[in-house]
Each structure stands twice: as C-alpha cells, then as structure tokens.
Amino acid sequence: MNELMIMLFAPLLAGFIAWIIDVRGIREAIGIIGAAIPLGILIQYYSTITGSNPHVEYSLSVGGFKLLFQLNTINWYFAVIASLVGVAMAFGMASTSRNSYEWLFALMSYTGVLGVFLSGDFVGFFLFWELMTFASFMMVLRRNKHESLKYFVLSVIGAYAMLIAIGIIYAKTGALDFASIRQALYMDAMVGSMSKSLTALVFLLFITAFGVKAGAFPLHVWAPGAYSEVDQSYTTFFSGALSKAGAYGFLLLYILMGAKLYAALGTWHGHMMFSYIIAWIGAITVVVASFLAVLQEDIRKLFAYSSVGQVGYILLGLGVGTGLGITGALFHVLSHAVFKGLFWLVVAALILRTGKTEFKDFGGLAEKMPVTFAMALIAVMSLSGIPPFAGFASKWLIYEAAISAHMPLVAGAIFLGSGLAFAYVVRFLYAVWFGQRPSDLEDVKEAPLPLLIGMFILAIPNLVFGIAPGLVTKYLNKLFGQTVVGGTYYKLVTPTGTYNALLVTVLLIFGIAVAGLIYIYGAKARRIPITNTYQSGNPVTEDYNLSIRRNFYRPLAEALEFWLKYSWDRFYERLAGMFEDFADFLREGFYNGNVQSYSWYLAIILLILALWGVL
C-alpha cells in the first residue's frame, strides 16, 4: 500500500472502527489518530514537494477504472490545510460529539475532501466529491431534515452539472485525467474544434457545480442552515475545509481550461471574460453574505453567513486572474480555514458550556472562559484583517490584486465587505465576552482540554502566518515558477506596495505595552454599571431597545428594508412550491378517478399512434 493511499483512507478506516467499537474514550482516541495520520504523512512529503521535482503519483485500479492520485505543489497545499483543520476538528469532536455516528461521517467527509484534492483525474474527483457530499449530508440530516434536504437538492444539482460537464469534456478530448485534458484543451484553444457555445456551457456547468460547494451567490442558501445544524466542531471542517473543495474546483477550472476559456470567451473591457464573471460572483457573494451576517441574531447563523462571504473573497481573488490575485486567493484559503475553523471551535465551546446560541443570552464570559476568549480574540482579529494576523496578509494581497488589475468596483465590494466583517465580529466580541453576565451563566466553566487543543492547533497558524506571511507566499511562488510576491519571510513586496509584518508586530506589541502602562499607572478606573454605557442619558423605550445583544444593527436592517424583501431563500422555496402546485394540478387534472377518462386517454393515444404510422 502506498503512503498516499494510507493517507487517503486512514480517516475513513478510523471512522469505521470508531463507529463499530463505540466505546467512549476509545472511539475518540481512534478518531484523533485517524485524523492525524494524513497531516503527519503530508508533512513528511514537505521536502519532496519543495524539492526540484514536486510530484508524487499513485494509481489504483477499481472496477475497470484507473484512479490516479497525485501530490504536487498545489494539491499538497490544499491537502495540508484540510488535514490541519481535520485534526482540529477531531480534537474538538472529542469534546462535543455525542455518538459514533458523527465520528463515522465526519471522518468520511475528511477522506472525501482529501480525495478531491489528491485526485489526478475526473473519475476519482467525482467519486470523492460525492463521498464528501454524502457524508456531510448525513451529518446535517442527523440534526435537521429540512436543512439537509436543501443541502441535498442543491448538491445534487451541482453534482449533475459537474457530471454533464465532465461528459462533454470526455466526449471532446477522450481523456479523463487532468494532464491530458489540460493538454488537449490547450491545443484546442488554438484549433477551436470545441465550439464557443459548448465551451461556455461547460464553464457554466462547472461554475454551478463548484459554486454550490463554495457557497457562491446565489447558490449559497444551503450554507447558513447546514453550517448551523451540525455539531459545531464538525462545522470547523465543513466551513473550513469542505467549502475549499469549491475553491479548489475553480482553481482547477483555471488550470484545465484557462487557455480554452480565454480563447473562446475573449475579453471584456480588458479583463478576461470568464474570470471577470468569477470575480463578480465573488464580489456579490462578499457583499450580500456580509450584510446578512451583520443582521443575524444567532451566533451560528452569523458565522455561517460570514463563511459564505469569506469564500467570496477567495473566488474574487481567483477571478482577478493575475498571479497576484491567485496568490492572494490561495493565501486566503489558508487563512480562512484557520480563522474560521477557530471561530467554529469557539462557538462549539460556547454551546457546549452554555447551551445557548443567541446573542441575547450571552455576556461577560471573558472572565469565565479566559483561554477560549483569547482564542476568540485571535480569530476576530484575523478575520477582520488586523495585522499581524494571517487574515490581514491574505486580504491585503487580494486588495492589491484587485486594485492593480484595475477593477475598482470589485475592490470597492471587498472594502465594503471588510467593513461589514468588522461590524459583525465586533458585535460577537462584545456581546459574548464583555458586559453584564446573565445570572444563569454564573457557573460556566472553561472549555474542556481536547477542545482547547483543537483551538491551539488553529490559533498557531493564524499567528505564525500572520507574522511570517512570507512562508506562504514563498511556497505559492513555486506554483507560478516565478516570484509573484517578493520579500523575506516577514516582509511582502508586491509591485504596488510593501507590508512588513514584523515591524507591525513590534509596533503593535509596543503600543499594547504603552496602553497597558497607562491603564495600570494612569487614571483610576471606575467600575460603572453596564446600563450606563450606551444610552447617552436618553431613556430607552421598550420597543426600540437596541443593545449589543438585541437588534443591535436594526437601523441598518431598516435602511436595507427594500433589499431584504428579496431573498433567494424565499425565491427557491417559492419555486419549489410552484413545482409542487404544478405537479398537483397535473395529477388532479389527469388522474381524476374517472374510469372513462382513462379510456379516452387510451383511445386518443392509440389514435395518435395510428395516425403516426406506428400501429
């Protein structure tokens, strides 16, 4: 057995064993070991991948198909991120999961995601894509049937779209492995034997398929429900790694058909048409999801929308289409996986210890759960893009890319999205951790140790890749075979600017130290009751009581009232309703219970057939 195979199937196998043994303690240990094996093997491959010939291959014959698995610069990167998040998820689940069912399907989706990243052909890609979808669907099904159905229907639409696209590509090129397809389509870009409209169709089908998984607008409607209706430790993986399969798919689109799409669809105002479409999908996703995230009253929903929005950044970076944009997007894949994973683990800890999910029930937990609070703080700063955290470096690269590619509106969309992101994480920070503590939260304890370990696993990359972003960009430069982002480990240099992370870190620490000194030796602090802080002396009426915990952004919601009337959720529900009504109408009309009508149908059909010449 090759090491790639061990890596791929270790989580699945561990999941099965944990499911069969089902003894508390043992199944957790097996699950964590199974989740850690891929990470260990991938780290061993680091020297091979960064060496002169970064390519590892293994092929497997299954039922007449030859599945090709490979490890090269790009999918090693994705696989490492997925396995890092996977390990953190396993530690988190050791504290929060209640049964072996969850272990089985969580680890199964882990194998699915790794398989998607490692596949070298479309057969394996599709098989593992479906394994991943199935396992995550089972996780949602456990908690909420309606949401799982929504997820299932959209996933099925995506899966069939992908299958048709693969079929068209196979019919045109006769190949299923990525290397041959890439070559054939590259040649075809010059010859043009694949027609323009067919190329556009394949593009549309792939966008649908990958867009569903990435949660791109307007296919994002499954994400908020599905992310919030599973074990929150699993959501770490769901939103941290599984949604990246969609981003990986978009990247694959570039690798496989970039030249062909460029040749077929041409340019639009100086941008490549196809990537411009992706950039706008990303931009709209960022804005819409961020606005919706700001208006949520439930922590899980808030971060679910936030996840959708942040994946929008990745699509946007990919859509800019320049080397810088793709570097930024790939960096954001890493930073989103670590900070959003961390967020979900924090949410898991909060739900585990308090059993509450809405902002109005929280408050003042920083004293009760100090370590979790520190982790939440790191996640908040990384997400909102405060240097020196990983989230800043990646967003900075995406901004640079959007600006230097002359896409002012797209850049504006991400600026708006960032502002909104800050608005919602600040609310999370304040409403949950500071302020007055509700009396029923007096005996809340610190999160359990495994959960804390999981948080540490994700918090460290946030800091390390924030202070030394060059670690990531140097690796990503290999992908392009040239220096896209220059500089040292601590300093990023792009054609339009320089970011010195170490300097910022030093300044930040210095600033905090000064602020700390002022706090300790400065003016005397006076404790004030919580009700004094934000009413400015005006009495608060009961019907317009906006506190950080209740309806805080209601003025925004009122300003947006016109736009909030339109919802894709409702649109899809209505569409489903219309289909149902139409089917009912057909049934009522034709299947009317009258024997004589059926005789008429028979006679008419026989007559038609006779006239047609069949009989």
Binding site: Y591, N592, V595, Q596, W600
Partner: protein, 118 residues
C-alpha cells in the same frame, strides 16, 4: 362473385370494435360500458378470424381429401379460441367487480363513483 368480398368482413369487424369503443367512451353506466367491451372483443375476434380466411378453402381439420393446402390459416383460429376464453374470464371478473361497486356505492354511474382516485 358469389361470396361477399373479403373487405366486408374487415369493415364489419372494425365497425363492431368502434361501436364497442363508442360505448366505453361515452356511456355512463358501467354495465353498458361492459357491454361495449364485449362487443369490442367480438369485433376483434371476428377481425382475427377474417385475417386467416383464404377464399374457397375449408376448415383446417386434417381429414379425407383435405390437406394443408386446402385449408384456411389455422393460427388465427387458435388465437381466437384463447382470446374468447380470456374475454369471458375478464368479463366475468368485471361483472363481479360491478356487483361489488353497486353494493359499495349504490350506483353504477361512473361519474359518481369517483372515490377510487388516489
């Protein structure tokens, strides 16, 4: 020609089928529909028989002076024998269903017996 032309058999049997079909499609009383079915069945049987008819030949019974070359086509006759039995069986079953329907609904009008719908 002393014998009627063969197309007269075709015409009459197809006419019987159409009359039966008319009864099934238009009559509201189930018994009348069943009568229509029986008429249709008769028409079909007649049609089958007349397809096998060869002008001037006798019944396909192997006997003195009548060989395979002097007989009409025996296959439709075998088919029709089967079809008659099946027809009688289905009619009998349909009649029993009609009895049950009448007991259950107190009417034989198909428009009123609409609770069969699913």
């Amino acid at each position: 020609m002393s014998l009627p032309h063969i197309s007269a058999f075709y015409f009459a049997s197809i006419a019987l089928v159409l009359i039966g079909l008319y009864a099934v499609l238009v009559k509201k009383n189930i018994l009348k529909m069943l009568i229509g079915l029986s008429i249709m069945e008769t028409g079909v049987n007649l049609l089958l028989i007349s397809i096998g008819y060869i002008s001037g030949r006798s019944a396909p019974i192997l006997s003195e002076g009548i060989g395979p070359n002097q007989a009409v086509d025996p296959i439709p006759q075998a088919l029709v024998l089967t079809a008659i039995v099946i027809g009688v069986a289905t009619t009998a079953m349909a009649l029993s269903a009609v009895i049950v329907l009448y007991k259950r609904y107190g009417t034989l009008n198909v428009e009123e017996i609409r609770r069969l719908r699913g």
